[in-house]
Symmetry: C2
């Protein structure tokens, strides 16, 4: 999306209610799309359940999609105790340097010029170190948060993990400290010289759509679809 | 998603028509969800236009959302010549080690137990080295591919980049060589002991939905919505 800055953007907010910008969280381009206030960051995170988690293995980057949950200023990711990133985080007291990114696509931005094509989007990028969570109560809270991030309220309407399942599950924590949001909204930024060209210009809105819930084959038919489903 | 393997999965295919599995592309868990055949990998990539690109900066991982395009066995990513990852790739003849990941969410999988909650998804993870593309013809093909990845056919119905725009745009290439797909489909994998619990179990389908195209404020009203829009 190598276009110049959009006029319809969110201004940076480095006030005390926000995250302190750092060299890593101030973009080299389109700085006027960056936001650092907690409300914006939390709202983007809370509208998602999937993140892309990056870490370094043998000097090379690895990016894996995974579920996450937010509890206040902490994000949690879980996985099998046998999975590579979680094993790596658990092995070291120094933790595992990670980058956790969440992205929503809100629209396809079609300009008259190929150059000004873009997306409307909301993203959050979190830099930091992931630590294995060992405290039993924090692990339970984290696992509930991950389930509730997918469907709010669901953790209360399912069987909690038992001892064997908890033993097989690694939970890591990433604090919200070095964080930025980036938002693009609005229409295409066509060059004035392109306005007379015979090409359609505008935005195609995009949003996730949830279909009719499909009950498991073995579900007791007397159990109806819960009201909390999307 | 720390559940055990699903019975409804795609089998590995390491035949000559597929990508050779490597230590990096064989998952430590749920191996029966992995696929290496070109058809599966291409179809997952071609249904997407957004990827999450991971690279290492100052020893730490960075994951950024960006557009991509596929041309045969090559992926292309573009950006401002001022952007950090593209500047890094361009600076060195050795290129930039990257991990490019594409994920589609197809369903929320709600099991009776919190532990077996999961997503239905299709993902592709590409490991490799990104090189700056300097050949003018390859750069044009790549930029068209990135626009057409968002909306097939659109590059032919927009103004191509001019010299100044091309000079401001960096294009990097990543070959499809070390690649895997991972797919989960089907219903929840509830434990037999949980089947009698009073919790709803099933799948909520998810898919991107495209809204009514919104023309730019300054669009000539005689230019109708193109048939190629989603």
């Amino acid at each position: 999306m190598p276009e110049t800055a959009s006029p319809q953007t969110t201004s940076p907010d480095a006030s005390s209610s926000g995250y302190e910008p750092t060299d890593r969280t101030v973009p080299t381009r389109s700085r006027d799309r960056a936001a650092y206030d907690r409300e914006t960051v939390h709202s983007i995170l809370d509208a998602a359940y999937l993140c892309h988690l990056g870490f370094v293995r043998d000097g090379a980057p690895v990016v894996l999609p995974t579920l996450f949950g937010r509890v206040g200023e902490r994000l949690y990711v879980h996985g099998s105790t046998g999975s590579r990133p979680l094993r790596t985080a658990g092995r070291s007291e120094e933790g595992l340097p990670v980058c956790l990114t969440v992205t929503h696509v809100d629209g396809l931005v079609l300009a008259r010029s190929a150059f000004h094509h873009s997306l409307n989007y909301r993203s959050v990028v979190v830099h930091g170190t992931a630590y294995t969570v060992t405290d039993p109560e924090e692990r339970r809270v984290a696992l509930d948060a991950i389930v509730d991030q997918v469907v709010p309220g669901r953790s209360k309407d399912s069987r909690p993990a038992d001892g064997k399942e908890l033993a097989a599950t690694a939970v890591v924590r990433l604090d919200l400290r070095e964080v930025s949001a980036k938002i693009r909204t609005g229409g295409p930024n066509d060059d004035p010289r392109d306005l007379g060209l015979p090409y359609w210009s505008g935005v195609v809105p995009v949003a996730p759509a949830y279909g009719t819930p499909v009950p498991a084959d073995d579900l007791d038919p007397s159990i109806g679809v819960p009201a909390y489903l999307p």
